[in-house]
Subunit: 191 residues, 2 copies
């Protein structure tokens, strides 16, 4: 029953918004008794938060390929694909919404999502792929923030190529790339 | 009269939102005739867009200090200070809002704001401070996106230190910093 109710919750949310997502409406859509939903989730708030969390997390894998660049590119490529859809933007809007009918759970919700992404960066630091003083959360916020801003604020198009370019920027930076260090394998210089 | 009417528009917007910002309400707040407002701005839409643009741009200088790091730190430090205020977040929300009473001018509005910021990065590229293939808009989106996302989506606190750390990240990147190149001045090595 759990999966059916959570899927029904996402459908009702996408169609009727937060205010229209009552336990009764979800129970009807899932074809279960309202009392069964209350027994399992206790409150409408718990149900909605669990449904949104599960949906967004399922759409955004946290891969562990052994290469931080590939992990981030896959993770944020999936986010870009999600945000390119109307349903994805609706879910993001709901995850960010405060409408007075739910307590403001946004900060703990987003802190937990951020922590999931930061784990990929932390592994890159541990493998020596990234500088030891890298702030894992900051890397995730710089990439995801640009994607969220296009999707919800500016309305500019979001695609995988944009996500990949953001990942490259936060990893390599915009400063000129120095030539290889003295003890690196020699490479021919053009000038 | 122009400055008084634009200031009154911002006040009315902050207090009553988009829907409550009529030419009549603005004219009353500014102590001018409604017909004078229509004569100058033509439509309510033009008035609101000009007021928001002027307010946000005035709050966010585009300095030209000769150092791209300092320009960006000042620019985004000002944005962080603005977004730390309730009025700043309200202005941002309005600049991002689509409520059906205004045509969706978000993309041209944000494209123009992005272009203002990108000019600082472009100057850094021209001075050789940044890699020649730097995408100026991408740098601006990575920093501003993280700030906007905290202010409007996650609700996490926004401050100048966060802005400064974002600027450092997109300039230097998260990769380990290579030792100086062979032709640089020698520095002692710790290991």
């Amino acid at each position: 029953m759990r999966a059916a109710v959570l899927a029904a919750t996402v459908d009702v949310l996408a169609e009727h918004g937060l205010a229209g997502t009552t336990v009764g409406a979800v129970a009807r859509a899932a074809g279960v008794h309202e009392t069964s939903v209350y027994r399992r989730w206790g409150t409408r708030e718990n149900l909605i938060l669990e449904a949104l969390t599960e949906q967004l997390d399922a759409a955004m894998p946290v891969p562990d390929t052994g290469r931080v660049h590939d992990d981030l590119a896959a993770h944020f490529g999936a986010l870009a694909r999600l945000l390119a859809t109307e349903q994805g933007r609706a879910l993001l809007r709901l995850s960010a919404e405060r409408d007075g009918t739910l307590p403001d759970r946004r900060l703990p919700y987003w802190t937990e999502r951020l922590e999931r992404g930061a784990a990929m960066v932390r592994r890159g630091v541990e493998r020596g792929e990234l500088a030891p003083d890298t702030d894992p959360g900051l890397v995730i916020e710089a990439v995801s923030g640009a994607l969220f801003t296009r999707a919800l604020i500016s309305g500019a198009p979001v695609d995988e190529d944009f996500a990949a370019r953001l990942v490259d920027l936060v990893l390599a930076g915009a400063l000129p790339k120095p030539r290889p260090a003295a003890d690196a394998a020699p490479v021919p210089l053009d000038s």
